[in-house]
Symmetry: C2
Subunit: 209 residues, 2 copies
């Protein structure tokens, strides 16, 4: 329905599932999307720009954001904070953009707890074998790292049923996967729970007939 | 996800909302859909064929179907029975077809009660004024009939929030409406609750890694 606020959607999936490619294609194809930009205390890498890849923060700044409840979710990896600033997401939603949060399983469940009407989408290859093949075919990961990733995947899989939607990303079928994600977000817009104002208005109007 | 069973979807909407046009276009554009064919005790009109527009039944036959619980839902209008035979729907679903049931509000709620995972879609023009205009512009309805339809719409509107999805059919935007209905049904296929077998399989596979 037009003039609706944007929808916040969480996208997760196994490392190697192809989330990044799906997201890039989605943003290329449709103009209703915005990616959420994370804040982090890790230093910028070469080519990374503040406000594009990340909002780069000092530890002190980040902890102030936590204290002021300015983050939708946050976590610490390898001694660095990573989190999702609320303000940026809310701005984008108010402009009618559908904001996609690409985060891992634990963060996803925290977002769902805080904002229960956030659809959680999980992207997965069709089989574990295919996942392993993709991780191996990258050629950048040592066999040990591939093993580590597969173990992480096994842990993450236990949370798949907490997601609202499971979307397959099959080999050579990127467009299908992108369309499925897009379809889910379109469908979310049509939910009657998101259109209560319209329903009330229509009822009122028809009463007057 | 491939090889899934079809999904039964209910489509309702005000008389004049354009449901028929939306359905025709949906079936023209995509090959995953089948319309449910109703059974009725009213006699065939010119050009109507048994098993195409309706399954034509005698009152005795129809009441036997009721007694044997062979109908998903049924109702009586103007002294004739109308209902949805289970067998035909189940055949189509088993073949992987998404079956669309175009029925009115009371029937829709009965289906939801019996099959709670059936998505209910409600098609509506953007305003009551637009609904009236469409009914009037048909030129086939007397002002009294238009008034009657508007009163029925007011009654039906009270049930809009029992529907899962509200989809606008705006003037000159048929394709948008068709895509929205299609998107909703695609999205329903991706729901984790409909993919428990896949999730279980993936978990098992990853455990073995």
């Amino acid at each position: 329905m037009s003039k609706q606020k944007g929808i916040l959607t969480v996208l997760s999936g196994f490392s190697g599932a192809g989330k990044g490619t799906v997201l890039r294609r989605l943003l290329e194809k449709y103009d209703n999307y915005a990616l959420s930009i994370s804040a982090t205390t890790r230093g910028p890498r070469e080519g990374e720009e503040n406000g594009r890849e990340y909002f780069f923060k000092t530890r002190e700044e980040f902890e102030k954001m936590i204290a002021k409840d300015e983050l939708i979710e946050y976590a610490m990896y390898v001694n660095n904070y990573y989190g999702t600033p609320k303000a940026y997401v809310q701005e984008q939603l108010a402009e009618g953009k559908d904001v996609i949060l690409e985060i891992e399983v634990q963060g996803a469940l925290k977002v769902k707890e805080k904002f229960p009407d956030t659809p959680l989408i999980f992207i997965t290859p069709p089989t574990a074998g295919e996942l392993k093949r993709r991780l191996t075919d990258r050629g950048t990961e040592s066999p040990e790292v591939v093993e580590e990733r597969m173990k992480t995947a096994a842990k993450e899989a236990r949370f798949m049923e907490s997601y609202d939607y499971i979307i397959l990303n099959e080999r050579d079928r990127l467009e299908e996967c992108v369309e499925a994600v897009h379809g889910v977000i379109l469908a979310e817009h049509e939910k009657s729970t998101r259109n209560q104002a319209f329903i009330d208005h229509m009822k009122e109007e028809l009463k007057g007939e």
